[in-house]
Structures are given as C-alpha cells and as structure tokens.
C-alpha cells in the first residue's frame, strides 16, 4: 500500500502583490475522496484551483499528484476540470454532445494523433456513465442546462484523470438539475471510485456527497470541519498506479 494521496498540497502560499490570498495551505486528497472546498467570495477558492491547475505559480509550498510535482507535469495534466463557466459557451456552436466529450481526449492523445477505436469505445462508455448516451448525437446547444453540465462532466472524465476538479458545478442550474448532478457524482464515487475536489460557495446539497469538507477562509485553510460525512465512502489508500486509479472502463 502506498500512503501518498492522489493530490497533496503542502504549506502552499500565494499572494497577489502584497495581498496574501493563501497562507500555508495543507490538503491531502486520497483515492475515492470527494472533498468539498467551501468559503465566501474572495476566500481564495479560485486562486487555489488555478494553482492546482498550474495556471499560477505558488510563492512557497508545493502541489503533488501521486508524488509528482505539478510543475513537472508539463505536457499532460492528469486532472479533469469542469469550469464554473463551462455552460457559458456559444450555444449555437454546431457540435454534438459526443463531439464535445471527444474533445476532452485531445490533449491526452497528443499532437498529430488521431483517435483510435479504443478511444471511441471509452467515449461511448463515458457518455453511458453520465447517462447521456441517448443524447450523444444532439447539438450541445439544444440540451438543457443540467444535460449540458453532464456532457461537460463526461468531457472532464473521458481522459481518465487521477482526479477531477469541479468549480461551482451546479451554479445556474435549477434544483432538480442540481440534485441530478450531485446524485450522478455520488454514483460515480461509489461505482467508479471517483476522486473529486469540488469548490462551491455554499455547502447545501454538496454535504450529502462530500466525504470531506474544507473551509477556506481568506488566508488560512481551516480543516476543523474536516470529517467524513458519507459513511459509504471510507478512506482507502489506492495503490499507486501508472494509469487511471478511479475509472476502470
């Protein structure tokens, strides 16, 4: 067994000029965890995500994915990302749900390489996982907000990442669609050991699926409320693998 987490953050600090946003943050996400990061506006949630995604460089501290420093993962980042602005795309874009999901594999395949038959199979299975197979040939703009979000979730999952990061995944969705997304995430967690980091400004709804909750409050990361909320998702350390630890297609 390996005690390293999927994602580890150690003594991470970041400032915009003289304004400290994150101060010595520590966080460890293990395989099968769903970690909810909550906090008010301006608490540094987005900055933390940008640091994890490599869009910003920390002042001090480090971030590791399976013992690999994130700075060294230059060409392929094994993180799936669902942006808060994912559904703010051009609604008239002439692409089907399947084409959008397929685009999530582009970086993993690399330049000048075409998708293989295995890739196409993975795309179909991912669509099935998010219950969107029957809508695969529909234009993305013709789907409802909740369905679009499921397609974007599939796009984040299709590259079989080590962890997925969801930034305010239910913002702008109606109550039913929010429940559907959370139910889907809980299902993926239980059946496919989905490891996820979910950032949200409110905990409502999220608490039912989160295995851990972290409150980010301006300069410090308070882990006082760090607890296991979902008894079904016990902490288990995964064997360190070369490929995807959570999605076994």
């Amino acid at each position: 067994m390996n005690n390293s987490g999927v994602l580890e953050i150690n003594e991470l600090s970041f400032s915009y000029g003289c304004h400290t946003v994150l101060d010595k943050i520590n966080l460890k996400v293990n395989c099968g965890d769903i970690v909810a990061i909550t906090g008010p506006n301006g608490s540094g949630k987005t900055t933390l995500l940008k640091l994890i995604l490599g869009q910003l460089k920390p002042d001090t501290g480090w971030i590791k994915l399976y013992d690999n420093n994130i700075d060294k993962l230059k060409n392929k980042l094994p993180i799936g990302y669902l942006s808060q602005k994912a559904t703010h795309f051009n609604q008239q874009f002439p692409a089907t749900a399947r084409e959008v999901v397929t685009s999530g594999l582009a970086a993993k395949k690399g330049l000048f390489k075409a998708y293989s038959k295995d890739d196409l199979l993975i795309i179909e299975k991912t669509l099935l996982m998010v219950n969107m197979s029957q809508y695969a040939n529909q234009l993305i703009g013709s789907l409802s907000g909740g369905q679009q979000q499921k397609v974007f979730l599939a796009r984040a999952l299709v590259s079989q990442p080590d962890i997925i990061i969801l930034d305010e995944p239910v913002t702008g969705l109606d109550i039913d669609a929010q429940k559907e997304i959370y139910r889907l995430l809980a299902d993926l967690n239980q059946n496919h050991r989905l490891t996820a980091l979910i950032v949200s400004h409110e905990l409502e709804g999220l608490e039912s699926i989160a295995t851990h909750q972290v409150c980010l409050d301006k300069k410090m990361c308070s882990c006082a409320c760090h607890k296991y909320l979902n008894p079904l998702a016990q902490i288990k350390y995964c064997e360190k693998k070369s490929s995807n630890p959570m999605l076994n297609f």
Binding site: F89, N90, S103, G104, A106, L111
Partner: protein
C-alpha cells in the same frame, strides 16, 4: 462546352476547387472563434504584398502570402497585448496594410490595371506559376488542418479548457494564423482581396444554420463554397462578370436560401 475549351478556365476551376475546399474549413474555425474580421485584415495586408510583388517582380501571390503571414503573426502578438480589446489589433493591421499598399503602389506608378485583377479577382490572369504555388500551399494547408483538427476543435469550443488540459494553444494559434494567411493569399487570385473573407464566412454561416454536428457543418460549408465557385465562374465566363463578385453573390443567395428553407420546412423531432 465552350467554357472548357480554354486553358485559363481549367486553371480557374482548378484553383477555385482548391480554394473552395480550404476557405470554408478555415472559415468555420474562424467564425466559431469570433474572429471573422481577422480575414478582412489579412486580406488588406495582402494588398501591400501584391503591390510589393508587382513592383519587385516577385510572383504577387507569393509576396502576398509572406505579407499576410507577417501580418497574421503581428495580430497574434497585438491580441495578447490588448487582450481585453483584441479587435484593436485587427483595426491596426487592416489600416497599416492598406496604407503600406498605397505607398508602395505610389512609388511604382503604372500598376493600377494589374492591381484591379487582384482586388476583384480575375480568371484570365491566373498563370501556371500561380497554379504551382496555390496547389503546393493548398496541399500543405489541408494536411495541417487534417492533423490539427482535434486541437482546433477543442480551442474553438473552449479555449480555457484546452489550455488547462495542456493543449499547446499558443503554438496551435500561431500555426492557424499562418494557415489562414496563406489561404487568403492564394484565394485572392480568383476571388479578389476585397471579397476573399466572404468566401470564408458566407458558406460557413449557411452551414451553421442547418448543421446537425461539427463534421456536418464542415461538409455543408465546403459543398456550398464549391457550388458558389462553380456558378460564379460560369457567370463570370458567360456574362463577363468579375468572378469574385459573382461567387460572393451566389454565396449570399445560398445563405438566404438556407434561411428560407429553415423557416418553411417543418422541424424534425
């Protein structure tokens, strides 16, 4: 048919088919990235290139390609500098292109008639040299688009996500700008500097309004462009119209036709 008894018409159709294949494909990515005005700016830079070519004796299509590539790369740089007002970069390059062209032409007086063939397109002026340059460049452009199609799609759909997933967005954008510049430069022989952007956008606009998928949009846009070019060249030959004008007006009719058909025909479930 009388039209095919002339070598220059064969050349015009050959170039027209190549241009009609590439322009809508490039145009689709440009339109989806909301950069339609970039094609106009690069076409205006081609004016300087053509003027320089006419004066120096370099094949104007080649000098236009060099100028347009340079202009495209400067647009990319300026877009980053004015990231919140990226359209400024287009205005700067467009006005610089026209101004430079006017100065170069003024320095070498007497090229006005030749220039008209590049402004509005000319089917009789296409030389065997043009055929060689355009076939080689067109093949290279098509091969690059084919191999970069998945990255171009990802960037067009969601550039932020493409960057996060570590697609080399800046490299692809630079390559795409060069491809666009080369496409515009080789298209001006048939369709003309003033109308080349129309061939990139009009078939795409028609295709986007009826396409059921991205692949579908590419195919429809290419078919519409080919129809416009064939009808435009026939009209140019038999009615003695400027080829650029007749090709663009055919594209406009096709666009209106798709809008009308879409409004009349019942929606499929």
């Amino acid at each position: 048919m009388e039209i095919f008894q002339y070598d220059f018409m064969y050349r015009a159709f050959l170039i027209g088919i190549i241009v009609g294949l590439i322009c809508p494909v490039i145009g689709l990515f440009i339109a989806l990235r909301r950069m339609s005005m970039m094609t106009d700016a690069l076409a205006h830079v081609c004016l300087s290139g053509v003027a320089a070519g006419l004066i120096t004796g370099i094949p104007p299509v080649l000098s236009a390609a060099l100028f347009a590539t340079g202009g495209g790369l400067v647009i990319e740089k300026l877009r980053k500098r004015f990231s919140s007002y990226s359209e400024i970069s287009i205005a700067i390059i467009m006005s610089t292109g026209v101004a430079l062209g006017a100065i170069i032409l003024d320095l070498g007086k007497g090229y006005g008639n030749n220039l008209m063939a590049y402004l509005f397109g000319s089917i009789v002026a296409i030389s065997p040299n043009d055929i060689l340059i355009i076939t080689l460049t067109g093949s290279m452009v098509l091969i690059l688009i084919f191999f970069l199609r998945k990255e171009l799609f990802s960037i067009a759909f969601d550039e932020e996500n493409a960057r996060i997933s570590r697609i080399p967005v800046d490299l692809i954008n630079t390559l795409f700008t060069i491809i666009t510049a080369l496409t515009i430069a080789m298209s001006i022989r048939v369709i003309g500097i003033l109308m080349v952007s129309s061939l990139m956008i009009l078939p795409v606009a028609a295709a986007m309004s009826i396409a059921k998928s991205f692949k579908n949009a590419v195919v429809i846009a290419v078919i519409f462009a080919q129809i416009a070019i064939v009808i435009g060249l026939f009209a140019s030959f038999y009615i003695n119209l400027a080829p650029g004008g007749s090709i663009v007006m055919t594209s406009v009719v096709l666009l209106i036709g798709t809008f009308v058909c879409k409004a009349i025909l019942p929606k499929r479930p």
